[in-house]
Amino acid sequence: MTGEPGGRPFFAGIRPVIRKEFRQIRRDPRSLGFLLFLPAFLLLVFGYALNFDVKHVSLAVCDLDGTQASRDFSGKFAATEYFDLRYRLSDPREADALLGREAVGIVLIIPRGFGDDLAAGRETKIQALVDGASAMTATTAAGYIGAIVQSQTMRFSLDVLERRGLNRLELPLAVETRVWYNPELRSARFLVPGLMVFILMVIVVISTALTVVRERERGTMEQILVSPVRPVDLVLGKTVPYVLISLVSAHVVLLLGFLLFGVPIRGNYLLLLLTMTLFLTGGLGQGVLISTMAKSQQVAFMISILTTFLPTFILSGFVFPIRNMPLVIQPFTYLIPARYFLATLRAVMLKGTGLGAFWKEVLFLAAFAAVTIVVSTMRLKRTGLEERPRRFLGGRRRVAR
């Protein structure tokens, strides 16, 4: 390194700043708790609340036929974990009230003559009333019904054919779907990595956004800038302690994700650690950058929330798949660092993919970290104290005594 008086090593200037930051963090248990436990807490809250799985939908059956065949058929529904049979109705008109007060999500109506028609090989129809107010649940549940009906139809058809003497019939075409990486299609698998990214991004940016402004407000910044300490020492010295603490925090989230939501780490842990460190460093750099621009702690807080909360939530692919976004919006997602971290995180955790598949994302994260750190260092150097002093307001003024 150049310009190092006395030829002391590069890190000599950073160490006192790091030690000071750690001491200050230790004396401020509220911030430390915020940093360490809020992410885990948010994971619990969001993890249980944000659940897109459709299971245990309340079901009412109105069996107007009352035959063995109709009971068998409705029994198929109750036997799955997707539906819970809550009501047996004798009059289809009761369905209205049940759906209206959301006592059930689906009402299945089996018409009179269902069993006879089946036995006779005639076409028969069942009716399913679905509460469409929650569209997501409705479509998924309707899908399940379709699937169950399909498989039942197949069995009946085969039965009929068999009875007509056509044995060992092969079906001409069959789809065999296998879901990889998340075989039960549980949304927790998909959401927990996203939640991790989201929570870490918000927490990390806020925690450092306040540090430089606070020093300027208290006047300690001036005292530091008049010393031979380099701006880079200051920025790194402020970032390193928070990187370490937020890494701990991220591991708590990983552990909880595994224990409570069964989200594994299939891939290389070191790779995960690398991308995580890059992402956290970038986020912290962004925080310091905000801090060099904001005039007060309140402003710094506002900017941090604005630049992390919604963009990460909406544009990172956390909840809404990027490919489904309008084409105009998609380019903006490239500006969101969380997008890249999320992609690598899902790849490493769920798929166990190697670096080859997402080196571009890692590269971007490295660039994000480098840019935020370098720019905030430059800003600190240039604008450290370039603020205009209070103007001498007019007239002749007596010397104060």
């Binding site: 310009g3 008086p5 006395g6 002391r8 000599a12 200037g13 160490r15 006192p16 700043v17 030690r19 000071k20 001491r23 200050q24 004396r27 401020d28 208290r218 006047g219 300690t220 001036e222 005292q223 530091i224 800038l225 008049v226 010393s227 031979p228 300490v229 020492d233 450290g384 104290l385 370039e386 205009r388 002093p389 209070r390 103007r391 001498f392 307001l393 002749r396 003024r397 007596r398 010397v399 104060a400 005594r401």
Partner: protein
């Protein structure tokens, strides 16, 4: 550097259309206590920031400790100590931790910090309170600790920007004893203040008004050379009316209000006494005591400011 610690030539700082410091020049002798005096907003802090390489001058040069502030800011920073009007240590660190931190950013070795520790604690009067959080200290102690931290790396020059702001008179006195001690030890002290009584402690002072230096010299010199005519201190009622009345008289050189007194500069003492008494009595103002006084630095300052105001008006 021929015995000068600081040499400033034509130093100017503009913020947009506003000129905060206007063509300022002066030298500071090694080991001097140099006072920089002016009202708030006169340009004191801006000058000090330029000298500490915190702010780039718009034009002019400043050489501090043999280093040009623009070309060698890091060398300047390494050779000076700085303490500002705001208390600027970390309230959430202990006394000892603050000392260690400032030692660290001035790149002192651990052993040197350890060696300096007792000296700083002694100086701040904080021996035995090493583990107290700094925010729990009284203002006077904080200020002395801040000075101690600014001196940790044993600089040849210290800048003190209104060091005694908000400090009680006893602590102020103690603080000035420290400053005198430094000067005796060969350290150059550059101090700004708006307490004019404190300026009497300085060897050399400059008066700054609206960004310009309006006068300078030792306090004695300034008082002797600036105001040659006698000054009368007048005790009377309705001081504001009296002031307005006297200002219009041709034989009055200058006037100012000091609380319930008037200071009136006249051509001649005996004649002045008679004229003041007569004029005020004619207006129905009762005159009490009327004394000849030695001019204070405040008289000097007001005189200089008035002189300059007249000059700029004439230039227009």
């Amino acid at each position: 550097m021929n015995g000068n610690s600081i040499e400033v030539h034509g130093l100017t700082k503009r913020f947009g259309a506003f000129t905060a410091v206007d063509d300022v020049s002066f030298d500071v002798r090694r080991g001097a206590i140099f006072g920089f005096l002016g009202a708030n907003g006169a340009g004191k802090s801006t000058t000090i920031r330029m000298l500490c390489a915190l702010l780039d001058p718009t034009s002019g040069t400043a050489v501090v400790g043999g280093h040009d502030v623009r070309r060698e800011p890091d060398e300047v920073k390494a050779s000076i100590g700085y303490m500002s009007q705001k208390f600027s240590l970390y309230g959430d660190l202990t006394v000892e931790e603050n000392i260690t931190f400032f030692g660290g950013i001035y790149r002192l070795t651990k052993s040197r910090v350890q060696a300096q520790m007792p000296r700083v604690l002694e100086m701040a009067g904080l021996r035995g309170r090493e583990r107290t959080l700094t925010r729990d200290l009284a203002q006077g102690w904080k200020q002395r600790l801040a000075l101690g931290c600014a001196l940790l790396h044993e600089p040849d020059i210290v800048f003190l920007d209104e060091p005694t702001g908000g400090v009680d008179p006893v602590s102020r006195r103690a603080f000035w004893d420290l400053i005198n001690g430094l000067s005796e030890g060969g350290v150059t002290v550059f101090v700004t203040t708006h307490y004019l009584d404190e300026a009497e402690y300085c060897n050399d002072i400059r008066l700054i008004h609206a960004g310009r230096i309006v006068g300078g010299g030792s306090p004695q010199e300034l008082k002797r050379t600036t105001i040659r005519n006698p000054i009368l201190e007048v005790e009377c009622d309705r001081v504001v009316d009296a002031l307005e009345l006297l200002q219009r008289e041709s034989w009055v050189r200058e006037t100012s209000i000091f609380g319930s007194y008037l200071h009136v500069g006249v051509e001649d003492e005996a004649e002045g006494r008679a004229l003041v008494k007569g004029r005020l009595a004619a207006a129905g103002i009762t005159v009490g005591r009327l004394d000849l006084i030695a001019p204070s630095l405040e008289d000097v300052f007001i005189h200089k400011i008035e002189e300059q105001t007249k000059e700029t008006e004439r230039d227009r």
